[in-house]
Amino acid sequence: MSLQASLRSRQSALASPDEQLRILAGEGDAASFDATLAGAQLAPLRASGVGVLQINVGKLCNQSCGHCHVDAGPDRREVMTPETAAQCIAALARSDIPTVDITGGAPELNPSFRWLVEQSHALGRHVIDRCNLTVLLLPSQDDLGAFLAAHRVEVVASLPYYRPAQTDAQRGDGVFARSIAAIRKLNHLGYGQPDSGLELNLVVNPVGAFLPAKQTAIEAQFRRELERREGVVFSHLYTITNMPISRFLEFLLASGNYQAYMERLVAAFNPGAVAGVMCRSMVSVGWDGTLYDCDFNQMLELPVRDDAPRHVRDFDAARLGTRRIVTRNHCYGCTAGAGSSCGGTTT
């Protein structure tokens, strides 16, 4: 797959969150997520504190992956300003949220990225960089790995498979080879090496319309195959279910897989996976400072309910920590099977 333009720049109807939500609402024949939650005595879904402040610094990316829920790419221009970044740090400073999770796009391409890392680190918070790996090879980012290591940043990197064909099919031609080169660079700095304290965690999304493998099994498989084939190592592996929104929704519809995929998610609803869904323990900040329950709701432009602060400048961890979560049918993606979150399975 060569680099594709974003839905937005192709002026696809699916660039509209309203259109995505209309499709997800369906014809009324499948049970709505809210009805399923209620049936399982789990409604309403509420936050259980704020353990993670996830900051999405924008949609600009050097890649354009076929499953991207952000519709990110080189043609996107929405990026967080230094002023909004400062509001994020101010919010962090007046809370005791232990973890800052920086995502994008390719978050490292935002001019405020390193400042956010430095400030968060100075506040004693654990920092996660959701990294696409290939960004580490850009000439402008030559010192990125060393910067991340110096600030003890946990790198959470996407790699859907340990072979080139599957990885490139999802993420673009040549991405596998460049991703492995980036992992080598990180390994050389100590990332993923036992006892280094530098965490390199891989995120695996299925390359197609099927659910992820069992996390423990696929982690062992990746560890064995990546070491044998490429001589690289990593700390842990997280599996994440592809969310039926944005570019993955486009793939599902174009390939005739949408109905069956949704039926699969609904049939695989696991009440035991609900307690650990990430929206219950995080707040997601959009590039313009708007607050969301998660990055997926952010892309569907579903902000937190209006009984909680809706902008990072008004951040109030206590109020946000008990808020009611906004849910739609895409939420089936996080409750299917073993569950799915930014930190992998939820069960």
Partner: protein, 112 residues
């Protein structure tokens, strides 16, 4: 029945309806089936690859559907799955060919 051909993809999702004729046997079969595919001396991934090979050998379209997906969901790739199908093919082909010895035995007995 709203179709006039023997195989219908939607029937896979109706598999459990067979239990209506004898719930007790269906329950026993379901429990056995689940136990067979649970992780044991073989991994779930390995079992799914075996199932895919057998599915192709017995040419069950429902099983091929189910275990192609299952193999992907257990982390296998199309190269591994293709090799599983070739294993089934080799055994099936070999089974045909080895019966040629029986053919030769008959020919030897009947021939002058």
């Amino acid at each position: 029945m709203d179709h006039d051909h023997y195989y219908h993809a939607g029937d896979l999702g109706r598999f459990a309806e067979i239990g209506k004729g004898n719930p007790e046997l269906w329950e026993k079969f379901s429990a056995y089936y689940a136990a067979v595919f649970a992780e044991g001396a073989l991994t779930e991934r390995e079992k799914a690859l075996i199932a895919l090979g057998v599915a192709n050998a017995v040419q069950c379209p429902y099983c091929i559907d189910a275990y192609s997906r299952a193999c992907l969901e257990k982390g296998s790739n199309v190269e591994e799955m293709t090799e599983a199908v070739h294993v089934a093919c080799a055994i099936r082909g070999g089974a045909t060919l080895v019966h040629g010895v029986q053919m030769r035995n008959v020919v030897d007995k009947l021939s002058m």
